[in-house]
């Protein structure tokens, strides 16, 4: 004997469950599509996919994505410390000295940076760095990446610092520590795992950023440049460029590069999850 209320309830649960499952389908479809297409390309190219430069559009050889691979790591690794230092100091300021106008301004502005479209960051860096330097450069890319990852790092760090219970601070003050020592000896060590996972997520985000690099790093695909004033390339940029070309070979390379990018992202994500789990124990 089912009342209409009971039936409605059942239908509702069925609806919620099926839409929820449906909403996660794209995730699996994306991963499978990238894996299937990417593995074929990388298998065809072999290890040279990681050591070669991209071929001419009509050649038979798949070539590789070495310049983009190097460039991605290069600019992300250089921008990361800049982001981390700026965001960490800003988040210490706004969590430890919360009640003054500068802290509040820093808090609001750092968070509103997140709503600036990344392509706008790219345009502004283009006019302020690329134009005066008379050319694209890894440095411009580094600056753009630092700018876009700053709000994420700031949010991660201030969440980490706020997650430390107030009694730790009080205990430190009660034995006569000043705020600097409290931050350095108590707060940072206590929240260090969360901070490290925050840094990893910021790294993942910066690594996958495309729009901020469009008008900054240039698209130097002939080789590897160590000089920070010289143009370089990045994996997301290469994918973006190659999927919009009409050449079949370039589209294949884009799939391979997408697999590399996705695999790197998954690796970081899984290690973050493992690290967070250890915190709970």
């Amino acid at each position: 004997m089912y009342s209409s209320r009971r039936i409605k309830d059942r239908l509702f649960i069925a609806f919620i469950a099926s839409v929820s499952i449906l909403s996660l389908v794209p995730l699996f479809h994306i991963m499978i599509a990238i894996a299937v297409n990417g593995v074929q390309v990388i298998a065809k190219a072999g290890l040279r996919f990681f050591t070669d430069t991209p071929p001419a559009p009509l050649s038979r050889d798949v070539g590789g994505i070495a310049p983009a691979l190097f460039g991605s790591f290069y600019i992300t690794l250089v921008s990361l410390p800049i982001t981390v230092v700026l965001a960490l100091l800003a988040s210490i300021l706004s969590t430890e000295f919360p009640s003054n106008i500068i802290s509040r301004a820093v808090d609001v502005l750092s968070r509103s940076l997140a709503s600036v479209p990344t392509i706008v960051v790219s345009m502004v860096v283009y006019t302020t760095v690329v134009v005066p330097m008379r050319g694209f450069s890894a440095l411009a890319g580094v600056i753009a990446l630092s700018l876009i990852s700053l709000p994420y790092a700031y949010t991660a760090f201030s969440t980490a610092l706020r997650s430390v219970p107030q009694i730790y601070r009080e205990a430190a003050y009660s034995i006569g520590m000043d705020r600097w020592r409290t931050v350095r000896r108590v707060l940072l060590p206590v929240s260090r795992r969360i901070i490290v996972t925050g840094i990893l997520m910021v790294f993942a985000r910066a690594m996958g950023e495309t729009a901020a690099l469009l008008f900054t790093v240039g698209r130097y695909r002939m080789g590897i440049n160590i000089d920070i004033r010289a143009p370089t390339d990045a994996i997301p940029l290469l994918i973006f460029d190659f999927i919009t070309t009409p050449f079949k070979l370039y589209q294949e390379i884009a799939w391979g590069a997408a697999l590399v990018l996705l695999a790197a992202y998954l690796a970081i994500f899984v290690s973050v999850k493992v690290a967070v789990k250890e915190v709970r124990l």
């Binding site: 500068i102 000043d178 973006f240």
Partner: protein, 305 residues
């Protein structure tokens, strides 16, 4: 406010980096407004109400990308709401323990996937699928409705961009909605259950309680969709046209910047026009995020206490 000289020194030593951040954002706005003002000064309001992109003759009107951005973001938010509300109810209300942990991890995983990965998938998988199974049937049977009145030729259109962006922002919105849904005090849920409400009725009441939070998430999602570049540039079709039809290739502001900015330096005003369009979107997203965060804060203070 400072207990000792050390504290003051510490505070002062934190200032330079913080002022750098504040300065950067102000510098940002100044540069953008400065560059945009050249073209706004020359073309006036006409720039925003006409539809023309002809840099060779220095004629510009950026209405189509602006409208395209709003339509694509509107579709994206609608798609995303359809998925993210059930998804957040599902994770908070219907599953427990390990399953919930797994599903929330998957949502988190999905939200962090680089947008260029969504772009390559949308272009090669989603667009052809939408063209064959959604756009063509709609055109065939409902073409008397102006929105569906043109034949989908390539499968790349505002409609495709909207759906693709909608899928990409679903995890973000689901996390926002789930967070506010979870923060509703347990007394409301207990109250519902104590008068014998079914889960459907409980959820309905809790959802109506969190309506302001859902509105705020929608506004924030809209802001994010409007700034989305990679997916839009690949799926929107890149064509300067203004029509009622959702299936015609069009532009969004980030898409036109992505495709035209590199060559804009060759012409006198093109760069400035693109800065003007970027300024429109930047102001829109800043205002929207501000409103969204404000509604969310107020709601928290009122309901969560």
């Amino acid at each position: 406010m400072f207990k000792s000289k050390h504290d003051r020194l510490f505070f002062i030593s934190l200032l330079p980096t913080s002022i750098t951040i504040i300065g950067l954002l102000i510098l940002f706005l100044i540069i953008l407004v400065f560059h945009a003002s050249t073209s706004i000064g020359v073309f006036g309001l006409k720039l925003f109400i006409e539809s023309i992109w002809n840099p060779e003759n220095e004629m510009y009107g950026i209405l189509p990308p602006i409208i395209g951005t709003f339509i694509a973001s509107g579709i994206a938010v609608a798609v995303s709401l359809f998925f993210s509300i059930p998804l957040s109810v599902f994770t908070v209300e219907f599953i427990r323990g390990r399953t919930r942990e797994l599903v929330s991890s998957l949502i988190e995983l999905m939200s962090g996937i680089p947008t260029v990965i969504y772009a390559i998938w949308s272009l090669n998988t989603l667009a052809p699928y939408l063209k064959t199974y959604v756009m063509e049937p709609l055109y065939e049977y409902l073409s008397f409705i102006p929105l569906f009145s043109c034949k989908p030729v390539t499968g790349l259109s505002v409609f495709t961009a909207g759906i693709a962006i909608g899928i990409a922002i679903t995890p973000y919105m689901a996390m926002l909605i789930a967070e506010s849904y979870r923060s509703i005090p347990i007394v409301y849920r207990e109250g519902c259950l104590s008068i014998g409400a079914t889960r459907y009725e409980t959820t309905k009441i809790l959802l109506s309680l969190s309506k302001p939070a859902i509105v705020a998430s929608t506004v924030l999602g809209f802001a994010r969709a409007a700034g989305e570049t990679t997916i839009a540039a690949v799926t929107v079709g890149n064509s300067m046209s203004l029509s009622w039809c959702l299936f015609a290739p069009s532009y969004t502001v980030p898409a036109i910047i992505a495709s035209q900015y590199a060559n804009a330096g060759l012409y006198v005003y093109a760069e400035s026009v693109l800065h003007a369009s970027a300024m429109v979107i930047l102001i829109a997203t800043l205002i929207l995020s501000f409103i969204g965060l404000k509604i969310l804060d107020e709601w928290r203070r009122r309901v969560v206490v």
